[in-house]
Symmetry: C2
Subunit: 199 residues, 2 copies
DNA sequence: CGTCTATTTGAATGTACTCAAAAGCGGTGG
DNA sequence: CCACCGCTTTTGAGTACATTCAAATAGACG
């Protein structure tokens, strides 16, 4: 049931079988259909989700109705509205499934229990947070210093599997351009990824 | 000597006096003059720095020679090149002092020792990483969805003390515009922060 | 199949950048 | 105390990258 998640965890910390049992007792499973929401802006995000199949995304909608993607979460990734989850605030993000997906859920209270009974989990989530932090720092600097095309190329390099499965529109909302512009960029520009009409 | 840092820490975790002694034995102090580097791009960033006075910044320099600020670190903030510090990689950031400053340094090996002997520190740095993560997520979404002026206004709201002390150029490099554009924005636009030539 | 959504294409527009030069500001040394 | 130097800020004119709005086309799901 929870193999993928347990494997992810044991890459960072070791658990006894009692600890594993306690941990899994705090989990639940949820299936999501395409476009089904996990949470919406304004709601309190009580769960952190680990994706075991499919792909979710978190995003905001700005005052003009445009979506901006914060994160894609394919298999083996965690996703949540951190600010809401950590500090019990109304969320600012929408999280939904891009494809039919399955996630493992844990509540804030479950994580707190883990911290008290299995301090190793402090380490696990510290490491995750640190890695995520580095990732967002890099992405921010990319947004400040690179052109749209360079950001697109970086995305292709870093997430080769996503680029093949995601709708272009979603990629545009991630790298920070309009879908129209991304389309033009790809069909105008020379030498790009995977499309040189070899007769 | 280390009061500010200890106070920061005890806001999150409690330490015995022996633990405090062990901790402080791992620290060192460094004074930095205006523009003095803590680390430069390409170097291995062995230290994490906690600012006790003054203000540091971390930034990159792009291929056109433009600086982009990742972080300002005034008093009571940590600053480091996380990717380099955590994973022992050559750094990608420059870190220097904007004003004359004083920092407390701890080495990666010191932190590892802390994790082994005082597991509470796992929690401390987990909390810091999580908060920083949320901050960078917000900033990223701001960069994707807001105009330059809105980003500037947010900056003024979030860091009112920085806006008064930092050179405009540094703020421009943080919000992601050229210094020229920021200048025009401030002198053209109506209703802005703290400058309405009341006769 | 039909409907809904994603992608493409075009023309006009705008926000922010580039390059250049002048003006302001602060510190330092004669 | 003034003069000079380096750096920041301002200002202007021209430019570019990316957006907006609109409409046509293509694709995907039920």
């Amino acid at each position: 049931m929870f193999e993928i998640l347990l494997k992810n965890i044991t890459r960072r910390i070791q658990l006894t079988s009692e600890e594993t049992a306690l941990f899994t007792s705090l989990l639940s499973v949820k299936k999501l259909k395409r476009r089904q929401f996990l949470v919406q802006e304004g709601e309190f995000n009580k769960y952190s989700a680990f994706v075991t199949s499919g792909c979710l995304r978190s995003y905001t909608v700005d005052k003009n109705g445009f979506e901006h993607v914060l994160q894609f979460a394919p298999q083996d990734w965690w996703i949540t509205d951190m600010a809401s989850f950590l500090h019990n605030l109304p969320g600012t993000l929408f999280i939904d499934a891009i494809f039919e997906s399955e996630v493992v859920l844990i509540q804030r209270s479950g994580i707190e229990k883990l911290y008290q009974t299995i301090p190793q989990f402090e380490r696990y989530f510290r490491i995750l947070a640190e890695n995520a932090l580095v990732t967002y720092q890099r992405r921010l600097m990319d947004n400040l210093s690179l052109t749209a095309r360079e950001r697109y190329d970086h995305f292709c390099t870093r997430y080769p599997s996503l680029i093949e499965t995601l709708p272009q529109k979603q990629v545009a909302a991630y790298i920070g351009v309009t879908p129209e512009f991304l389309s033009k960029m790809l069909n105008t520009g020379t030498g790009r990824k995977g499309q040189t009409e070899t007769s």
